[in-house]
Symmetry: C2
Subunit: 459 residues, 2 copies
């Protein structure tokens, strides 16, 4: 009986387990998980903190019993301490009893996810009971309880204005806290939006009484009696009643290093289309890996749940005996803060230029419904970037209300995945219904603006 | 000075005029329009009838002055009576004065749209003042006024359960009318949805107190004193206070026939990628044309506004001196009735089978947001159809709430446009944000179900 051992029971790891076992019921599948939870959705934690999601268990895709039913040996509170690639064994420790055991494996899957670097960067926060970061499901419980205990009118300081930071705002505000966001750079959402779009989101957040402090890299925390009272930045100190760090994660790669697997520049494990690492008996999936970017054909680290899920599914297929391929990703991310959605796929103009592309960009503020249909916010800001030689699409970003932003970016993501061009976008037969879209969709208008530069006829 | 004459000032015709004139200001561009309106959105008429749109002028993309400003000679109430292809002239009549004139042209553009066959099929309705169909912007005014005059509680009968019919329901109900829909076939939306999905929409409409009569092809109308009082069907008679016909349109091809242009089986003018007809000096755009279906590579008639707009833009580019291409369409349509959206792109399973494809289908009812996010309808019905040999996507249909249906279908439409496969769909890097999508999007789940049939690895 072939022995599959999976380290880490997040969405990716459990997808491997379920898929492999389903395809080949004769496999012995064991999952070793450090925490008490399996198959969890970290992306839901802000909504648990904000009490939108009532129970922590609601964030589990499946209850643990489901995996037992599927014949998967899922073990909680087990930390892997040592892996022997030569003899194909590993040692793990029970975190409650401290007992160590050894396990044999034929195929190993590393699904150890990401971890925070926060307490390496700022060692003083280690013992501060009011400084938090999200790494496990438990973090949600702890942060929510602390925020509820503080009570209304107290001040929460979020370090970092990435998507984690911005999704926390609304949820902390929901609990009645005043929210300050501290960003090291000169704009919010620096990895997602160009400065002009970011400043629109910033103004929107300010209109919701969120305080935004830019240009302020965090230097240290001032701790009093095991409580942080201030965060010191290059640009002044800011006090708060609780602090949540939304920056500084890295691949959780200790085991990969022990196995001397090939790592990328982020420290993520390099995997191929089958999700194999540089060791042909070791797979890796999810936030611990680097995979191929389909635009640049370089390896990238993208700790996103939907990617982890797909990787898990494909690794599980390969382990279960059905050859399958995960091509890579193009880097699609989306966030919602209050009623505003921001989303991005592929490269921004400046990112593309840095990579050596000759770039053109269409930038517009255009209607998402027929003009004559009343009701609600009717415009999005959209930018579409393409190569200036062949019209190949390179990326897009948008801000505006809800689904209308998210799905337009997804549609571009889909064309990026197949290396589509601006002419593919123009010819994309997007439907028209006055309450759902204008006769000239912003996406098609963008393609027209780009086509104009190259002459209308496909090269 | 080259003389461009465009017959018909709908969205398509005016797109040609604007684009050509913009690219080459030296062109003489004349548009002859039978009605009083230019650049109108017929798709908005249901919303004008329902008083959602207050003014008829709101349905104009641009006011007529805008075109004059652009240097376009736009003439209203002009009906073209005869075209001489040999001498490149045409005769037209002023519908008010009856005066006839002759005009020379170097390039002719036919943008005459579609017309109703209703009074050919049921000649008795010609003089009935309470039987309507939508062909011009005026129809909206006439229908709304009649409905308002009738008043609340009176009964409107809609003939046909296509998208026009279904979008009228909500709007007539808005005016307080009781609505009955009569459909010839054994399901509603026969061209858009499979019977199982159609029956869900039917139940939904019944829950809104809409009466749906199926299996009832209309045979005739009983007229009393210039008023229809009953519609007689193969399956019984149904009375009403007003009747709106939402079926039976055809390309308005009189001029095309006169010019002996090549027509397709619908009567639509066959156009090539440049929007040229079989006469190299005559272009045609919009609802009067047949164009290439990108899936079947057959000519099809698709009288949709977004297609007319694109055709107009591309024809205008070519006329203006910039070579450009309209590849064709894949047949994307969408409708909204009350809070339910139905959309389709490409082929249904049965349509594909009739065309000789070996087909597989994924059919699912799946969440459109993370399960744990509360609020509103959270599921859509989705079907995705692909070829059973190479996994090429062939079509999709969906029903459910709002944007979430529309954009998922648009994303598939976009992949159909580039001849994408089920593996392209799986690898499409759709973003994940718990309030906007689940970690496993219904589209990706559908791709998995389809991949399962072919083995996971791309063929």
């Amino acid at each position: 009986m072939q022995k599959i051992v999976i380290i880490g029971a997040g969405a990716g790891g459990m997808a491997v387990a379920s898929r492999a076992k389903r395809l080949n019921n004769k496999l012995s599948v064991t999952v070793l998980e450090k925490t008490n939870y399996a198959s969890f959705a970290l992306c839901g934690i802000p909504y648990y903190i904000g009490n939108v999601v009532k129970e922590l268990d609601d964030l589990l895709f499946y209850p643990p019993e489901e995996f037992t039913k599927r014949g998967i040996d899922l073990r909680f509170n087990k930390e892997v301490t040592e892996v022997d690639a030569e003899n194909k064994t590993l040692k793990f420790k029970d975190l409650k009893s401290g007992k160590e055991e050894t396990l044999e494996w034929d195929k190993l899957v590393i699904a150890t996810g990401a971890r925070s670097k926060a307490d390496k960067i700022w060692p003083e926060i280690k013992d501060a009971k009011n400084v938090f970061y999200i790494t496990h499901l438990d973090s949600g419980e702890i942060i929510r309880n602390y925020a509820l205990k503080l009570g209304r009118g107290k001040k929460a300081v979020i370090i970092g204005s990435g998507y984690v930071g911005l999704e926390l705002i609304e949820n902390l505000a929901n609990l009645g806290l005043k929210v300050t966001v501290i960003e090291a750079l000169n704009q919010i959402l620096p990895k997602m939006l160009d400065p002009d779009l970011a400043s629109i989101v910033e103004d929107y957040l300010k209109s919701k009484e969120v305080e935004i402090i830019k240009n302020s890299p965090v230097e240290s925390f001032e701790i009093n009696n095991n409580e942080a009272v201030k965060v010191k930045t290059a640009n002044g100190s800011f006090d708060g009643d609780m602090f949540i760090i939304g920056v500084g994660i890295e691949p959780n790669n200790d085991i990969a290093k022990q196995l001397k697997l090939k790592l990328g520049s982020s420290g993520g494990i390099i995997v191929n289309e089958k999700l194999l690492t540089s060791n042909p008996d070791v797979y890796a999936v999810g936030d611990v890996t680097e995979h191929l970017d389909l635009i640049t054909e370089k390896f990238v680290w993208r700790p996103f749940a939907q990617i982890a899920n797909k990787m898990g599914y494909i690794a599980g297929s390969n382990i279960g005996g059905l050859e399958a391929v995960f091509r890579g990703s193009v880097g699609t991310s989306a966030l919602k803060t209050f009623d505003m959605v921001a989303a991005k796929t592929g490269l921004s103009k400046s990112e593309a230029e840095k990579l050596g592309y000759k770039v053109m960009e269409a930038s517009l503020n255009a209607g998402i419904r027929a003009d004559y249909i009343p009701g609600g916010e009717n415009k999005i800001y959209l930018k579409v970037v393409s190569d200036d030689k062949r019209g190949r699409l390179l990326g897009a970003q948008a801000i505006g209300p809800g689904d209308s932003v998210f799905w337009r970016i997804n549609l571009i993501a889909s064309l990026l995945t197949v290396k589509g061009t601006i002419w593919d976008l123009f010819n994309s037969d997007i439907g028209y219904q006055p309450t759902l879209s204008p006769a000239w969709d912003p996406l098609i208008i963008a393609s027209r603006l780009l086509m104009r530069n190259l002459g209308e006829k496909p090269l």
